[in-house]
Subunit: 392 residues, 2 copies
C-alpha cells in the first residue's frame, strides 16, 4: 500500500547508538500538516516532549517535519533542552521551515548526554535521503529493543477520492497504557481541520495505545503524533468523518497491537476481552488489571490455565463486581463459571495455550453493558535478560 | 527467645499439598486472646477471609485458636464456605471453644476444591501435637513458594514485668502493599485492650506489611492477625503503651521485610528510602512506584546503576515533584543530582550493587518533610520459572 501523498521519509546512522544501525529518522510534509499530539503524563518529561508541546502551541498545530532519534532519550540531561532546540533550528533552516514547525522525538537510555553534533552533522545527509517510499526505513531507524518494525496502512474511499493513512511506531518495554505510549506517528493526506484531528487522536488513543501494556512502566518520552496534510486534495464531508476517523483509529490500533505483540521477551500475544461491566471505563480497568498482573502473564507464558489468577487480578482493579457472577474463558474455553472452577479438558487447553495468540475473556453476568478490549504479552525469562543489562 | 506465654503451636501433614511437607498449622491461646485482624481488599475474597471477618465480629474480638492450611487457598471454590465453617466447628468442639472463637486461614492455589476431610481428620493429631515450643513448626507449615520460614520475636521490659511478642508469616509472590499482605500472625502475652490492639495493628501494618512489594499482585487470602492473651499478667500502663506498640510494630516490620527478602526468585533485598516529599503518604507513593517498577527491579538484578528508570518510576507515582530538585543514591552513592547524571565510579558501584542488600534513596530537595521506607526484591528469571508453572 502506498504512503499518504505529500509525505517523505528518511533515515540514517548518526552514531547515537553503538550498534551500526540507523538511529535517526525524519518525516517531512510537503505542505505543513495539521497536527495533534498526545504525550507522556510522567512527571519526568524528556526535553523533546517539552519542546514538542511548546512548538505545537507556537505553530497553532502546524507541523512541517519531525526529527526522531533512537539510542538516547535525551531525558534528565544537562544539555537536553539545548540539543532539542538546536535540532529543530537546524532542521528548520535546512528545510526552510520556522523552527517551531519542527518537532523532535527521542527514545533510548535516560540520563546520558546526547551529543547535538551527531544529529546536526547528520541532518544534511538525512534530508538528502528524503523519499516518499522510505517510510519503512524511518520505521526501522526508531526501534530500540524492538525485534520488528511496526507499520500500518489504510485507504479510505470517500466521495471525492481516496485518502491514505499510514503510521509507524516503536516500543517494546516501559509500556503502560495511561496515555499515548511510546513513539508513534500517524499520517494522512486527507484534509482534516485541527479540532476534528484532535478529537480523532484523543478517541483513537483511548482504544489503541491506551489499551496496551507490556510491563506497567510509563516512559518519560511517550509521544504520538497525528499529521494531516491534505495533499490528496480530499476533504471528507461531515458525513464521511466517521469513516475517516475509523480508518485512522484502525491504523492506531494495528500499531498499538504490534507493540504488545513485540513486547520485550514476549512469546505470546494476549487479547483480553471484558464484557458486562458497569461501564466501558470499568471494563477497561478490569482488562488493564488482568493485563498488568505478572502472575497472569507468567501463567500464559507457561501455557497454564490458571484462571484463579485472572479472577484475583480482576478483583484488584478497584471495580465493584460480584465474583459469583463472573465467567472466565481462555482460548474460548470456559475455565470458570460463576466464580467457580468449570470442568474443562486440561491437556487440550494446555495445547491450545501453546499458541502464539492467547485470548482471555471475562464475562460479568450483571446488568452492565460495559466492554473493553486490551492487548498485552506474556512475561518470560527473556524480559528479565533484556532489562537486567539494557544500559550497560 | 521464648514464645509469648499461654500460646501453643502445632503442625502436621494433612495431604492438602502433594509435597510431603507439613501443610496444616494451629495456634491455640490458653485463654481467649483479644484479637484484631486486617484482611485483603481484593474484591474476590477467599472463604476463610470472609469467615474470619464474621467470627471476629461474632466473638467481639476474642480468639482461642487459628487453623491455617497451605497448598489450597480455598478461594473460588463451590464448597469453600462449608469447608471453612466445618474446620472451625470441628476445631472448636475438640478445643472446647465456640466455633466463632476459631479463625481459619488458607493459602495456596485458587479455584481447586479443598477436601474438608483432610483437615477434619488431621485436627485430633494436630491438637495432640500442641506445644509452646513449636512456633517454628507452625511457621514452616504455612509456607508455599517461600524458601525460608519467617519468624520474629521481641521482649518488652515494662514496669510490671516482661511481655513477649512473637510472630510468623508467609508469602513470596502475589505480594502487593495495599493492606495486610499474605498471612501473618503476631502474638503477645501482654494484656492489651481491644481498641488499643486495633490501633496498634492498623498503625503497624502501615509501616510494615503496607510497605513491601514483590510483584504488585494482591492475593485473595491476605490475613494479618494480632493476638494478645494477657498470659504474662503484664498490663502496660498508659505511658508504656508506646513501648509496647513499638515492639509489636518492630516484629511486624521484621516479618514484612522477611517476605520481601524471600520474594519469588529474588536474589537481592532492596530498601527504598524517600525523603523531602510533600507528605509521608506522598513519600510512600513514590517509594511504592519505584518498588513496583519491573524495570527498576530488573536493573538491580543486573547490578546496573540505571538511575533513569528510578527517576522515571517516581515520575509515574502521581505525586507532584520537581525532577530538577531530585537526587538519587544507590548504595549511598549519588548517581543523579538535580535530575541529572552525577559522576560516579561505575565499576565500583557495579561491584557494590552485586551485594545481596541494595539501597535506593530518592531525596527531593523541596520544602516537604515527608519520608517513607519501603522494601522489595529484584526481579529475576527465577520469578518467571516459578510462576510459569505453579498450578500444574
Amino acid at each position: 500500500m502506498k504512503a499518504p501523498l505529500g509525505f517523505a521519509f528518511s533515515a540514517t546512522y548518526a552514531g547515537i547508538r553503538q550498534a551500526q544501525k540507523d538511529d535517526l529518522a525524519l518525516i517531512v510534509s510537503a505542505l505543513p500538516a495539521n497536527a495533534a499530539g498526545v504525550f507522556t503524563q510522567n512527571r519526568v518529561q524528556a526535553a523533546p516532549v517539552k519542546l514538542s508541546r511548546r512548538h505545537l502551541k507556537l505553530s497553532r498545530g502546524l507541523v512541517g517535519a519531525v526529527v526522531i532519534n533512537a539510542g538516547n532519550a535525551n531525558c534528565a540531561t544537562r544539555t537536553g533542552d539545548r540539543v532539542a532546540a538546536l535540532t529543530c533550528q537546524t532542521a528548520g533552516k535546512l528545510l526552510r521551515l520556522p523552527p517551531y514547525q519542527v518537532l523532535p522525538a527521542s527514545t533510548g537510555v535516560i540520563g546520558v548526554e546526547l551529543d547535538a553534533a551527531r544529529i546536526i552533522d547528520s541532518l544534511p545527509r538525512l534530508i538528502e535521503g528524503l523519499n516518499p517510499s522510505r517510510l519503512e526505513d524511518a520505521a526501522n531507524a526508531i526501534l530500540t529493543t524492538d525485534l520488528v518494525p511496526k507499520t500500518a496502512h489504510a485507504e479510505v474511499h470517500l466521495r471525492r477520492g481516496v485518502a491514505r493513512v499510514a503510521g509507524f511506531t516503536k516500543g517494546s518495554g516501559m509500556i503502560h497504557p495511561q496515555m499515548a505510549t511510546t513513539l508513534g506517528f500517524v499520517m494522512t493526506d486527507a484534509h482534516i481541520p485541527l479540532p476534528s484531528l484532535r478529537t480523532m487522536l484523543k478517541r483513537g488513543v483511548e482504544r489503541s495505545y491506551n489499551r496496551i501494556s507490556v510491563d506497567g512502566d510509563t516512559s518519560t518520552n511517550d509521544t504520538l503524533l497525528l499529521l494531516a496534510n491534505g495533499a490528496s486534495g480530499v476533504r471528507p464531508d461531515p458525513k464521511e468523518m466517521p469513516k475517516m476517523e475509523a480508518a485512522i483509529a484502525q491504523v492506531m490500533e494495528t500499531l498499538a497491537q504490534a507493540i504488545a505483540r513485540d513486547g520485550e521477551g514476549a512469546s505470546k500475544f494476549i487479547t483480553i476481552l471484558v464484557a458486562g461491566a458497569p461501564s466501558d471505563a470499568a471494563a477497561a480497568s478490569l482488562a488493564r488489571a488482568i493485563a498488568n498482573s505478572p502472575l497472569v502473564k507468567t501463567a500464559v507464558a507457561g501455557a497454564d490455565a490458571n484462571w484463579g489468577r485472572i479472577l484475583s487480578a480482576a478483583g484488584n482493579a478497584g471495580v465493584a463486581f460480584d465474583p459469583s457472577k463472573a465467567d472466565v474463558f481462555m482460548q474460548g474455553v470456559a475455565v470458570c463459571r460463576g466464580g467457580l472452577a468449570a470442568p474443562f479438558d486440561e491437556p487440550a487447553l494446555k495445547a491450545a495455550l501453546g499458541s502464539r495468540e492467547c485470548e482471555i475473556r471475562l464475562a460479568l453476568r450483571g446488568k452492565g453493558k460495559g466492554a473493553a478490549r486490551f492487548w498485552t504479552c506474556d512475561l518470560t525469562e527473556e524480559y528479565i535478560r533484556i532489562n537486567a543489562s539494557y544500559r550497560t
